[in-house]
């Protein structure tokens, strides 16, 4: 079954998608597949290879998708779903824009990595999950936390370092944890979240098989293109496929790792191909189109819930801002940025909703206004919240309150007869 998923997913299961794109593309130039208009000193043979790749896995702009939908006359989402998706993406975008403002005003500090432009990936995947499913992310995690259900107030307070933050100000921008919403972080080291996500998926399987509980939880791991050159990624692809874990590996390929282009650092830039090498399906999808992402996500999540194992999904996306707010972002070509700005996922979804009469401009404007107010209220809340008290510095180092094997009653915890769950019958 692996190979059936390795080809690009046609949108309605129809073959019309392919016919729209002739096998040999003369224009646009092949390198536009990866958005590179600047000439690189890559050997010509490699350029040809990429051209070939472009033809094999076409990435279509939303315009074409929209046209195609009109032809087939059936829509991908209902009005309610559409509004939910729209609201989520607007929340992500407004929140991140507000973060930038607050950072330059000095309210936020340290490392802040913004998600502008990539909202389709987060919304497309996370809005299909339940509360008990887990999400593991990287340092670019604000929007993943928001999509998963952590309130904007909690995230903003956390960024300001206040005690009302989701981690009481102890984590910061890069470490968003929420036990309630099963947001398992927020990791600063790239690749660190992947094994942790694999472990959470392992737990779902363990609960089903060993503890005999009813557990259909899946885990979604988000990470970038740079991570795909890291050893841990491959270790986990291997083990997830080996143990058939309910996990979806989502690569947010935004083509750049700080200033290192994906092409300069990867021998084979097509990340989706690495899935089948380990025995799992690898899918490439246009990450600027939330509906496409959602379709692929549905398949991958259903696969995982059915116990068929992991999937590797490569989303081609783009970050409109620099790597972090401290990044001057000089290495990226203006033309490339403009090209992707034209494919803004929010504008695309708005166009889709309006043209297909799923929502009126007025309704969408109401949503935007509501979100603006929400984000402003979050900022006010965060501003008004107190900073953590001094005693918080030494708290929570250990779960065990005194950290010395001593319980709250002052006696050694191991002496408490309730210390163990059951009695050992050896």
């Amino acid at each position: 079954m692996a190979t059936s998923f390795s080809a690009t997913l046609p949108l309605h299961g129809s073959q019309e998608n392919r016919l729209l794109l002739p096998p040999i593309r003369l224009a646009p130039p092949p390198s536009s597949f990866l958005g590179f208009t600047r000439s690189l000193t890559i050997p010509s043979s490699r350029r040809l290879y990429h051209a070939h790749a472009a033809r094999r896995s076409p990435v279509v702009g939303v315009q074409e998708v929209v046209k195609e939908k009109k032809v087939t006359n059936s829509l991908l989402i209902t009005k309610e779903e559409g509004l939910v998706l729209y609201e989520d993406m607007i929340l992500g975008r407004s929140f991140e824009d507000m973060c930038a403002q607050m950072y330059y005003r000095g309210k936020m500090f340290g490392f802040v990595h913004l998600y502008n432009g990539q909202e389709a990936v987060s919304t497309g995947f996370i809005k299909l999950l339940t509360q008990s499913d887990s999400v593991v992310s990287t340092y670019r995690d604000h929007v993943h936390a928001l999509s998963k259900g952590v309130s904007a107030r909690a995230v903003m307070s956390e960024l300001f370092g206040k005690v009302t933050g989701c981690c009481r100000g102890q984590g910061g921008s890069m470490h968003m944890f929420s036990k309630e919403h099963n947001m398992l972080g927020g990791f600063a080291f790239i690749g660190e979240g992947i094994p942790v996500a694999t472990g959470a998926a392992f737990t779902s399987k363990y609960k089903r098989e060993v503890l005999k509980q009813d557990c259909e939880d899946v885990t979604v791991a988000f990470f970038g293109d740079g991570t795909c050159n890291n050893g841990q990624f491959y270790e986990c692809l291997n083990m997830a496929a080996l143990y058939k874990l309910p996990i979806i590996f989502v690569v947010e390929n935004n083509l750049w790792a700080i200033g290192m282009s994906h092409l300069r650092s990867t021998s084979d830039p097509e990340i989706w191909k690495k899935g089948p090498a380990f025995g799992m399906p690898g899918v490439h999808v246009d990450g600027m189109d939330v509906l496409k992402v959602r379709e692929v996500a549905k398949e991958a999540v259903t696969r995982a819930r059915r116990g068929e194992g992991p999937t590797l999904v490569e989303c081609e996306t783009y970050r409109f801002r620099g790597h972090s707010l401290a990044d001057p972002d000089e290495l990226r070509d203006a033309a490339e940025k403009a090209k992707y700005a034209a494919r803004d996922p929010i504008t695309a979804l708005k166009k889709y909703l309006v043209e297909n009469k799923l929502a009126s401009e007025g309704e969408l404007k109401t949503i935007e206004k509501k979100i603006d107010e929400l984000v402003e209220e979050a900022v006010e809340f965060a501003d008004a919240s107190p900073q953590p008290g001094r005693s918080q510095l030494l708290e929570n180092v250990f779960a065990d309150p005194k950290g010395f094997g001593i319980g709250p009653d002052g006696r050694y915890r191991c002496e408490d007869p309730k210390f163990t769950q059951g009695t050992a019958q050896v």
Partner: protein, 368 residues
């Protein structure tokens, strides 16, 4: 901040009820060590029985590591577990330390209790990111929302002739990280009690065993064989009482220190030997109380000397009990070189009984 931490410790642990607690505790502890132990048990069997009992008591406990299943454990510590609990609870992993350690941490985040075995702790360097960044720091970073009840265990320190890359002692590295508990058992009783406590503990525990101790037999009491036997984490044990010099050490060096104490006794020096058992949290009260009694300190460890466990103990004693010291603190550690292979060089690179005896004598004669 150090004063503040000490303030908290004093408030909670030492003053008032704490002191009497400690006295009764040490009495019980000594009682255990002198219990009529006609039974003997190897450290290997002690560890095996501890894991077996904990897996039997709690279905959330599982074992993961290289060769732990079909091979019965690289050092046979997990012998028989695969047959008893099946492949869903005893996982033979591929050679992917970073991967499977991370999987263990992720499983602990989600509520299971993994026991991750490293074939030796040298290999934990490939997974150290997960031990420190995802396990140790998580409870703090998430402000108590996510705790990590995981145990990382395996042989640590020098074995016999295994060369530089297989002989490093990691006690100092892991013990410097807040958020980790680091344990180092010596005897079979230590091994059983501490491993059971570690598996039940809700925090990440680094459990440093010693390969050369696996085969050694120790007397074991009936109490220690009970399936709910646990030792407290953070409490050192006074293996041998004395009044002239305090020798503080952990793991294999405890055996050497006891032999040195006997040699010193022949020369009229009564040495008190303290088995740390727990490197983090370090039992500073017991160490300082002992030094205040004897006025001399000798610390011994196998690892590299710079920034080692002994350095921390010496600093702690100098800070807390300076006016009680009659001689400079003595520090014996492994040689400041990567471990050589040749047998005679290896012997030179590690502390021997004669080194401990010499240091103790130096500590005793200095004041004269």
């Amino acid at each position: 901040i150090r004063e503040k931490m000490w303030g908290i410790l004093r408030q909670r642990g030492i003053d008032g009820g704490g002191l009497s607690l400690r006295r009764t505790r040490s009495a019980l502890v000594s009682a255990r060590s002198y219990a009529a132990g006609s039974k003997e048990m190897t450290v290997r069997d002690a560890l095996n029985s501890a894991i077996d009992e904990e897996m039997s008591a709690d279905p959330k406990v599982f074992v993961m590591g290289e060769e732990v299943g079909q091979y019965q454990g690289a050092y046979k510590i997990t012998k028989g577990l695969l047959e008893k609990y099946g492949p869903e609870r005893v996982y033979d992993t591929p050679i992917t330390e970073a991967g499977f350690t991370g999987i263990g941490v992720g499983a602990a985040y989600a509520g299971l209790k993994p026991v991750v075995e490293f074939m030796t702790f040298n290999f934990s360097m490939q997974a150290i990111d997960h031990i420190i960044n995802s396990a140790a720091k998580s409870n703090y970073m998430s402000a108590g929302q996510i705790n990590v009840p995981i145990v990382f265990r395996g042989p640590n320190g020098a074995a016999a002739g295994v060369g530089a890359q297989h002989s490093q002692c990691y006690a100092a590295w892991y013990a410097s990280v807040p958020g980790l508990k680091v344990l180092a058992p010596y005897s079979a009783e230590d091994a059983r009690g501490l491993l059971k406590a570690a598996i039940r503990d809700p925090d990440p525990v680094v459990f440093l065993e010693n390969e050369l101790l696996y085969g050694e037999s120790f007397p074991i009491s009936e109490e220690a064989l009970d399936s709910s036997f646990c030792l407290p984490i953070g409490k050192a044990k006074i293996e041998r009482e004395g009044k002239d010099v305090t020798i503080v050490t952990f793991s294999k060096m405890v055996g050497f220190a006891l032999k040195a104490a006997e040699k010193l006794a022949e020369e009229g020096i009564s040495a008190e030997v303290i088995n740390l058992r727990s490197i983090r949290p370090l039992d500073r009260e017991t160490i300082n109380a002992s030094v205040r009694k004897t006025s001399r300190l000798v610390t011994v460890e196998e690892g590299f000397p710079q920034h080692g466990v002994c350095a921390e103990i010496c600093a702690s004693v100098v800070e807390e009990s300076f006016s009680y010291l009659d001689a400079p603190v003595e520090r014996i550690a492994g040689a400041d070189v990567p471990m050589p292979y040749a047998a005679n060089l290896e012997r030179l690179a590690l502390p021997q009984v004669e080194d401990i005896v010499r240091a103790a004598k130096r500590a005793c004669y200095r004041s004269k």
